[in-house]
């Protein structure tokens, strides 16, 4: 039998869930905002900031482009932030399981995070 969670723990979990919900919401809103700014710049100026259909794909090129307000660079940055939102989700889940004192799921979710990190490096190496 699982121990009945105490009232205090329950309340704590409720507030943790709310904080996590807000963190995730902020993460998605940030990436959407960056994408929209880049897209509006593209529509207003009519220029992507690059020659032809080229768009930057390396961190260096993207950040250099963002510094000079190139629309495609800002859009790519927004897309990258969006790709990171599920990772953020996994990270906050680890914290939430930890607060629930559910170590089995802390390990399970950490394993998922490690696989994600490994695949990020595979992606970088294949570029």
């Amino acid at each position: 039998m699982k121990d009945q969670p105490s009232k205090q723990l329950n309340q704590e979990m409720n507030s943790i869930e709310l904080i996590i919900g807000k963190i995730l919401r902020i993460g998605v809103i940030i990436s959407a905002t960056i994408m929209i700014i880049g897209w509006l710049l593209l529509v207003i100026t009519g220029k992507s900031g690059y020659v032809g259909n080229f768009h930057p794909t390396s961190f260096r090129a993207i950040f250099a482009g963002v510094a000079t307000l190139k629309p495609y660079a800002i859009m790519m940055l927004g897309i990258y932030c969006l790709i990171l939102t599920p990772v953020l989700r996994v990270i906050v889940s680890i914290y939430s399981f930890y607060k629930e004192r559910d170590m089995l799921y802390v390990y399970i979710t950490m394993f998922v995070l490690i696989v994600l990190i490994v695949s990020f490096f595979i992606g970088l190496s294949q570029a």
Partner: protein
């Protein structure tokens, strides 16, 4: 340019709503439209559909501050099988003949389509099998959700964890080896094999798809197949659509979701069978 972008936003809203309700991630809707209606190279369509999946997943996550429907434990536990399957799939490319996988997965989808058809005549209460599953209990996979359509809390028990995990492994294998979206398999693993109700299955599938897609998205991002002028308006539309879709899903009758789901399963299944037998459509 602005016309294309507005069409992309509209397509995104539609794919986001449908994807969030069905747990399919939306790639299955967007990819054929981009290739057939816009003549986009399949390479770039796949790049766009990866972003579509992530946006659907994240959009449906933020619709509520607290997750009322999805089962986080089931998601993270099954994610192990999916990610290992995906890695195995990409390693097996060139070793395993995809032909047999297409036939196998095609048959599985069609079987599940008929199984779902059978479930149409069941009452939602039938989900409470009453059987205690030792593995599910040990892993605390059983859950409950408040069904806004029935206006009551549904407790459910998860069974057949090993077979659910096998299908999830297959889903990962399929996405790694065949490059196809695996939302249909994820919903099937939970709904058909593990006897989870459809709504938590769909919501959990969406969460898992975002995590799996994030893993492969980096490859696409850095090799240049994600085109910003297509992916950005799509993603913006989808984020909005998915927020709406996951709210709508909660109030829809499960039966209606299933009725929409079945033909899609049969369609994907038949498509895979044809592909396996080398028939060009």
């Amino acid at each position: 340019m602005i016309e294309t972008a507005l069409i992309m936003i509209a397509l995104g809203v539609f794919a986001g709503i449908a994807g969030a309700i069905l747990g399919l991630g939306g790639g299955i809707i967007v990819t054929p439209i981009l290739t057939l209606a816009f003549g986009l190279n399949i390479k770039y369509a796949i790049g766009a559909s990866i972003i579509v999946v992530i946006a659907t997943s994240s959009g449906s996550t933020i619709a509520y501050l607290k997750d009322e429907v999805l089962n986080l434990r089931v998601a993270m536990f099954l994610e192990i099988a999916t990610t290992i399957g995906a890695v195995a799939g990409s390693l097996l490319t060139g070793v395993l003949d995809p032909k047999y996988l297409y036939v196998l997965f095609g048959l599985l989808l069609i079987f599940s389509g008929f199984n779902m058809f059978r479930k149409l005549r069941m009452k939602p209460d039938d989900y409470r099998s009453g059987k205690e599953d030792a593995i599910a209990k040990k892993l605390e996979l059983n859950g409950s959700y408040y069904d806004k359509n029935l206006k009551k809390t549904i407790d459910y028990q998860v069974t057949n964890v090993p077979s659910g995990m096998s299908v999830m492994f297959g889903a990962g294998l399929a996405s790694g080896l065949l490059g196809i979206g695996s939302g249909a398999f994820k919903v099937i693993a939970m709904d058909t094999f593990m006897k989870m109700p459809l709504k938590p299955s769909s919501a959990t599938s969406n969460l898992m798809m975002g995590v799996t897609a994030a893993a492969s998205a980096t490859v696409y991002f850095f090799n240049g197949t994600i085109l910003p002028n297509i992916a950005v308006p799509l993603a913006i539309g989808i984020l909005g659509g998915a927020v709406v879709g996951s709210r709508v899903m909660q109030i829809l009758p499960t039966k209606l979701i299933r009725i929409v789901f079945i033909p899609i399963l049969l369609y994907i299944g038949a498509n895979m069978l044809f592909q396996g037998f080398g028939v060009k459509l």
